[in-house]
Amino acid sequence: MKSKQELKLVSQIIQELSLFVMYHGYKTYQLHFNRQDLQETFILILPDKKDDMLSFMEQKINQKREHEIEAYYWELLGDLDSSFELNILGLVIDHMSYSWKDNQLIITLYRTIKE
């Protein structure tokens, strides 16, 4: 993917994550983005843990990334219409992990990038 498209895609992932947590009722959250050589990470920090939301995220995001689909449907990222809709995000993220630390839920999404 070209760099301009890659940057747009990243901004749309951020938009999708923001919308997703707001649809789930979060009024406070932090979202960090970090890009290193071959990997991008999106870190969501939430003040409490909602099991339904978390298991849904795991189900959608921990599936295999599909590069051939990603290049076509990424334009729909960031345009969520309901709180249980993460199909496109699942296609563009490799995997996620989460931890509960100091009364905060930390969700990390990993995305490898091609040279």
């Binding site: 789930h24 009722g25 051939e68 334009e75 729909l76 219409d81 699942g90």
Partner: protein, 421 residues
């Protein structure tokens, strides 16, 4: 048993059956004559290959197109996913009316050139490629329909075919935003826009009449095609259950999905459950044909196979039945008031499922409304795009989704806030 659906032999057996099937119905000579008639036909909407080439040649056309695409997928090392399955069955369906190896290949080459130009992996354009051939009549029409000398017609068809393939991946990504993924036939919508351009040039500059061709259909093969549709659907259901007897437990995952792009049911609920859903969608399509008295011709067969294909990629009974019933209301009104129903409206009852995600998102009654409006749109979009876009329903569905979704999104704003709180 799960491996049953994951093995190469299934693909090979299917291809062998596809190549044997034509010869069960017709002789070699008749099939060859029919194939030549298909390959040299302008193929604009609506060209029923069953009428033009017969059942044997149409089935051979299906087999050849399947072989080409399966070999391509194999060469690209792509695995079977929901959208790829939908793409393959759509190609199989439209091999009964409009697509053939001659008019599809220039578009494929154009997509390959587009990948090279954009410096992207050719594999990443596979979804566009599998649905791209809906605009293949532009190639056949320029060669066999314009009346131009072949010395000019063939290069013109090749150039336009390549250009079409080149432009489709660039345009189709951006068209998604128009209907927000609520039209499952997005490439069909994109091709409608491109067809509009071709239609304007050919009608305006070259003064060509695009609607002078015989668009009659034949229902002479209704019974064998009915049997093929039912057997295929039942086999998929049985195959799914044999491969995973517990598959049905995952059906709620599919039924809860709005079906909005990109809902890959093979990914979400497993191949086995997705194939059961494909079979169920096939039986629903056949049931609608039987109840409404729709005889199976080329376009209708195409509709049945396309609905089945999208049973792995966005369509399920809960989101499809409302829109199909909405289309059925207009079908019955038309039949009762005029005494007959056009092929376009008959296939609309099946292809209306392009807007199934609207029902998946906004419920039964909005789905009913979307289905009703959709079949009012299709007769308008057909002359608009000139018949080059075989997915005329995909073109219409883009407008229907773009009208209905924003309106009902505003109306249910409170509900979204309720979900969030």
């Amino acid at each position: 048993m799960k491996r049953l659906l994951h093995t190469k032999p299934i693909t090979i057996i299917t291809l062998v059956i596809l190549f044997i099937l034509p010869f069960l119905f017709e002789s070699w000579d008749k099939i060859v004559d029919g194939m030549i008639a298909i390959l040299t036909h302008p193929s604009l909407l609506i060209s029923d290959y069953l009428r033009i080439g017969g059942l044997g040649a149409s089935l051979l056309n299906v087999a050849l197109l399947m072989l080409i695409n399966v070999l391509l997928l194999h060469a690209l090392k792509l695995k079977l996913t929901g959208p790829i399955f939908a793409g393959l069955l759509t190609i199989a369906g439209f091999a009964f009316f409009g697509k053939n190896p001659l008019n599809t290949l220039p578009i494929y080459v154009g997509i390959f050139l587009s990948a090279k130009f954009q410096k992207v992996d050719f594999r990443s354009l596979i979804i566009v490629l599998l649905f791209s051939t809906g605009i293949s009549p532009i190639v056949s029409y320029l060669i066999f329909g314009t009346g131009w000398h072949l010395m000019y017609a063939i290069p013109a068809a090749l150039v336009i075919g390549l250009l079409t393939g080149f432009l489709l991946p660039i345009m189709s990504v951006h068209m998604l935003r128009f209907h927000k993924g609520y039209n499952l036939y997005n490439v069909g919508f994109t091709m409608g826009i491109l067809s509009l351009l071709y239609s304007a040039i050919l009608r305006g500059v070259f003064k060509l009449n695009l609607f002078s061709f015989d668009s009659s259909t034949t229902e002479a093969y209704n019974i064998p095609l009915l049997i093929i549709s039912i057997v295929l659907s039942v086999l998929l259901i049985i195959g799914g259950f044999i491969a995973d007897p517990q598959a049905l437990k995952k059906y709620p995952i599919i039924l809860k999905s709005s079906g909005r792009l990109a809902s890959d049911f093979m990914r979400d609920a497993g191949k086995e459950m997705a194939l059961i859903n494909v079979g169920i969608m096939g039986l629903i399509s056949v049931l609608f044909c039987l109840v409404l008295g729709i005889g199976i011709n080329g376009p209708v067969m195409s509709g049945i196979l396309t609905v089945m294909g999208f049973g792995a990629f966005g369509k399920h009974p809960k989101n499809s039945l409302p829109v199909m019933l909405g289309a059925t209301i207009w079908f019955i009104i038309t039949k009762e008031t005029t005494g007959s129903v056009s092929t376009g409206l008959a296939i609309g009852v099946l292809f209306v499922t392009a807007v199934a995600p609207v029902a998946g998102r906004h419920g039964f009654f909005v789905g009913l409304l979307a289905g009703f409006i959709h079949v009012l749109f299709t007769p308008l979009t057909y002359p608009f795009q000139g018949g080059f876009d075989l997915y005329n329903n995909g073109f219409a569905a883009g407008f229907v989704a773009a009208i209905i979704v924003p309106i009902f999104d505003v109306l249910r704003k409170d509900k979204i806030q309720e979900e969030a709180s």
